[in-house]
Symmetry: C2
Subunit: 251 residues, 2 copies
């Protein structure tokens, strides 16, 4: 069989269209209209449905708003950033702050029962525990405790973490790509250790984030426990009433 150039379309027309529209948006001001769907289709040489699919994405992400009968417009920068951030670094940047990190400790211990269950490894499995102080604009923001199976990151040392993002490190040095995760958020108060590290009074209100992430294949990569200062960190979400469906049936 001839290897006839039937390569996988790494870039689909849809994603291509998306990129083009993104470029377009960057040149426009908030409130400006983008070309009509039909026009875009003609300009970019794709069908209207493809354009719509691409725009659907951007609308869902809040970059555009559609007004039926009127047009599609560049929207107000979304106030509520998606809660599904990827990393501390990115999160802080989005909040307009300069992120930094200081590694407080790095040691290897057996997973133990609790952590073993979270990471889905045997309790005796060696696990690297990394404690980092997270800074934003040179002020303490959070304490983060990472737990990673040692066999995933052989040879990692504290210096590696100072500059690069941990996720970048995982990807570039170890070829581990985080695909998804689940995170729980609870209110808590700081204990003595956390208070002194963060420089806040004992029993200050704080967020407790617990995150477990995994690769696309479903392998658990890390478990992270973070304490965020309640006086500096705040979650903002936008609420949008779903129209229609005034209440789903439950059995």
């Amino acid at each position: 069989m001839i290897d006839s150039a039937v390569r996988a379309p790494v870039v689909t027309k849809q994603s291509e269209t998306r990129e083009r529209v993104l470029d377009l948006i960057e040149q426009l001001a908030v409130g400006d209209a983008i070309p009509s769907e039909r026009q875009l289709g003609t300009d970019l040489g794709v069908s209207r449905l493809t354009v719509r699919a691409a725009l659907d994405d951007l609308v869902r992400e809040g970059l555009l708003v559609r007004r039926r009968g009127s047009g599609t417009f560049v929207s107000e920068p979304k106030i509520a950033q998606e809660l599904t951030m990827t990393s501390f670094t990115e999160d802080m940047r989005r909040r307009g702050m300069v992120p930094a990190s200081r590694t407080l400790g790095l040691r290897t211990v057996p997973a133990g029962a609790h952590l073993g269950r979270l990471l889905k490894v045997s309790p005796s499995e060696p696990v690297v525990v990394i404690t980092r102080l997270r800074l934003a604009d040179r002020e303490t923001m959070a304490i983060e405790t990472l737990h990673v199976r040692e066999s995933l990151i052989p040879g990692l040392n504290a210096g590696d973490l100072e500059q690069r993002s941990f996720y970048e490190l995982l990807e570039q040095r170890y070829g581990i790509v985080i695909a998804s995760g689940i995170q729980t958020i609870e209110p808590t108060v700081t204990n003595e250790e956390e208070s002194s590290a963060l420089g806040v009074p004992l029993h200050s209100p704080a967020f407790l984030f617990e995150r477990t992430t995994q690769t696309r294949a479903g392998e658990i990569v890390e478990h992270v426990r973070s304490i965020y200062r309640g006086d500096r960190y705040r979650l903002v979400t936008e609420l949008n009433r779903r129209e229609g469906r005034p209440g789903r049936r439950f059995a």
Copy 2:
């Protein structure tokens, strides 16, 4: 011109399809496959595109997962409920609990500087302040303090709030439809009043939700301040790494 039944399609084929599939899902167990897109199209008498659009919705909401080349399957009940809930009642139901409400107080006071700013009214404007205890499965869950301009809800009394949802009341009696809102979440600890009302120890960790909602026209409707018990209420979010676009450009 003849009034040829050109009525507005209040239910689109897509939403119709969505409902049918929801019915279908209810009869299946987690992990079961639903009929193929082509099959569904034939069965329901709609095109595959319509089926896909309906399934897109359900996949996005986490009820279904697609496996290319294999089929579409009923997914694990979504662990991460959307953070953008609309009301306490709905939120609790989604968590599988029975919501209830007890009105603790209802009085009218001048808005004052702070509240006036939040509601965008004059500081002397009369504002109704409603305090409610929110229950889930007959246990205290939260304290909620509503602030609404009195002129919006003339004649409202405490009894009105016991059965119906406040939002339903707004819609049905006053014709006010909430369209969007913005909410901030902070960690805090309960004060004496909150502790005794909720039945938790003084200075227990809690979530502080502050929500301001508005109509589609942008008119501020209400400002709500809620204290949620940290030991009973927890936020869970799902993190999904966006593939591609390894970082959007910022100007």
